[in-house]
Amino acid sequence: MKNRIEVGKPVGIEVSIAQSEVVAQCDVDVIAAYPITPQTHIVEHLAEIVADGDLDAAFIPVESEHSAMSACVGSSAVGARTFTATCSQGLALMHEILYIASGLRLPIVMSCVNRALSAPINIWGDQSDIMAERDTGWVQIFTENGQEVVDQTICAFRIAEDRRVMLPVIVNLDGFSMSHVIEPIRFYDTKQVRGFVGVYQPPLRLDPAQPMMFGPVGIPEIYTEAKKANDVALIESRQVIEEVWAAFAREFGNAYRALETYRTDDAEYLLLTVGGMSETASVAIDALREQGVKVGQVKLRLWRPFPHDDLAALLGKARGVFVFDRCLSTAGPGGPVASEVKTSLYNLRERPLVVGFIGGLGGRDVTVQQFADMVHKGIGYVAAGAAPVYEMVGVRE
């Protein structure tokens, strides 16, 4: 396959389009998807690539996201490399089948263009959609900009289809503020990408030549073992994820880690962020450093498997950790990221005070100043030795 886009040097391109181009480069066999804002550009563009004959794939225009994921399970079960994209209400509608995709160990790759959940209906970005799918058994990766989306999408296929993993992977990107933005992105040679992801060799598939049963009833005598096997597979996928990222760095130059750090070296306080708003937060970190505040930033890229030990090691020595969540766990123990970070730290003999902030909901902008304010507020809580369970930022009282 010849290159559809210029490779080797950054070109200005909408992130959604870039992701669909790279999905095509990965030579997917089946795309089953249903439109939902702000995911639409991804699947529309893939439909075009297929319609132009540039990708030999089946594009299944299903009648719902539930059927999208169901069709993905079907196509993956016959050994087809399978991709879909969704978000928000669509992801919620898929919920039931997400567990089944991972339970059946099918290496589907999905793009999730993070968007708020109704009600009230809201098409703009936050992370409530994906946070509701934390426990579905998928590998879940966050990205911060278009280049990361492209790179992680390539990595996703290789991670998912590794024999040691055989699990579906979600690549998250922020709705609109990433998906609909034109960014400079460097593409790679299609042949090289195809070489990197390889040809999918399914260990098991539905085939009359060797009939088998996918999805038997997990009677009580077997269910626990089945769950244990999936749990271990997801935990141990970490090893493969690191290998794939390392291989990617060797092959294409960009290096990735489960937790990215920014100016953390002598930091007493750490601001932890996830996704596209991390870039705004970094600007705030710069400003605070100017003011002499010893604050650094930790960006969580790998959400599942959860990098428990890495977090403990990285955050444990700080005096205060300020976690920014773009999801409200209504009347719960704090934002999902904050409560999981707390869990990672709880058993340490000495641990920082963890302060949870919730904001950026439903496309609400969070400014540099607001991130700086969170840090100042957090430092105040550390000084006082106590903090509320969580608090919302940028809400009109």
Binding site: D29, V30, A32, D56, A57, A58, I60, P61, V62, E63, S64, H66, S67, A68, S70, A71, C72, V73, G74, S75, S76, A77, V78, G79, A80, T82, E96, I97, I100, L104, V199, R205, L206, D207, P208, Q210, P211, M212, M213, F214, G215, P216, V217, G218, I219, E221, I222
Partner: protein, 320 residues
């Protein structure tokens, strides 16, 4: 014996192979299970089955006892048709790319109960039919959600007492008419729609074969008595299927490229009366689920009237 259509050595003409295997856990006298036996016999082993949640899924797949001799997948309750879409389209691409399934293309069969088809799975079914997925969808209609304890579905007939449409002091059981699944299929303009019943095995198997051979979606609505849910004798399923067909309650017909054709005309089968829609009471009162209708003559009358009307509508379609 003529009315069931088998001659003396008919069984010998059938494939001996049994791709649906013994040791499944269906209740005694389960006709949906018999249907699976007949269907797989007709299709053979070049087949992939996508099953919806329901009795036929549960009874054939408790780990590690696999009652299937063909590849089989269960995903969820409402999505058998969507899963089949993925399976079929996946196979198509992989064939094209020369990766797998390079020999004969296997038949793809989606399987759902009346609940999994007419209720919760109707959307996925409609989607797959409309998209032209090259598969066979079989709805085995035992007229309620049996797997979860005999709750009503939109396939439950008028007057039947189920656990969520119970007959009571002020209720006569189900108060709605059975959904016409076959005509929903016909409305999708698919190449093949048929009704069938395991009491007429040769008719059923011939239809299954046609359904597989046709390019594009085919829908089979199979009437399948369930002794447990219908509260009838375990040995009565075949007889009840026959009575339902003979009385016109469940007419057997096929619709090929939009053209209706009646498979078995009740008028020619019934010995007792010229009227194809004879008394249905004989059918109803062999089943506990209708027992409370004794003495409710107006309702039985209404059911009878409805059967007559539906039959006339069907007849009119064949005469176009």
């Amino acid at each position: 014996m003529n009315e069931t259509g088998y001659g003396i050595f008919a069984a010998r003409m059938l494939p001996k192979d049994e791709p649906f295997v013994q040791g499944h856990r269906a209740c005694q006298g389960c006709i949906p299970a018999l249907m699976l036996r007949q269907i797989t016999k007709a299709i053979g082993r070049d087949l992939i089955v996508c099953s919806a949640t329901g009795c036929m899924e549960i009874i054939s797949s408790p780990y590690p006892f696999n009652a299937w001799g063909v590849p089989w997948i269960h995903v969820a309750f409402e999505n058998a048709a969507a899963v089949a879409s993925g399976v079929e389209e996946g196979i198509e691409v992989l064939r094209r790319k020369g990766r797998f399934y390079t020999g004969r293309k296997p038949a793809v069969l989606a399987l759902g109960g009346d609940g999994g088809t007419m209720d919760i799975g109707l959307q996925a079914l409609s989607g797959a039919l409309e998209r032209g997925t090259d598969f066979v969808y079989v709805c085995y209609d035992n007229e309620a959600y049996m797997n979860t304890g005999i709750q009503r579905s939109s396939g439950t007939p008028m007057g039947a007492s189920t656990s969520t449409s119970p007959a009571g002091r002020v209720s006569t059981g189900q108060v709605t008419w059975k959904k016409n699944l076959a005509e929903i299929g016909v409305a999708h303009n698919i190449p093949y729609v048929a009704t069938a019943c395991p009491s007429y095995p040769f008719d059923l198997m011939a239809k299954v074969k046609k359904a597989v051979e046709v390019k594009g979606p085919a829908l089979l609505h199979v009437f399948a008595p369930c002794p447990t849910g219908w509260r009838c004798d375990a040995n009565s399923g075949i007889k009840l299927g026959r009575l339902a067909v003979e009385s016109g309650l469940f007419p057997l017909f096929e619709v090929v490229d939009g053209q209706h054709k009646i498979s078995l005309d009740p008028a020619t089968m019934r010995k007792s009366s010229q009227d194809p829609i004879g008394e249905i009471a004989g059918y109803l009162f062999q089943q506990g689920r209708f027992r409370h209708l004794k003495g409710r003559d107006e309702l039985i009358q209404a059911i009878q009237e409805r059967v007559r009307l539906e039959w006339q509508k069907l007849k009119a379609k064949t005469e176009r």
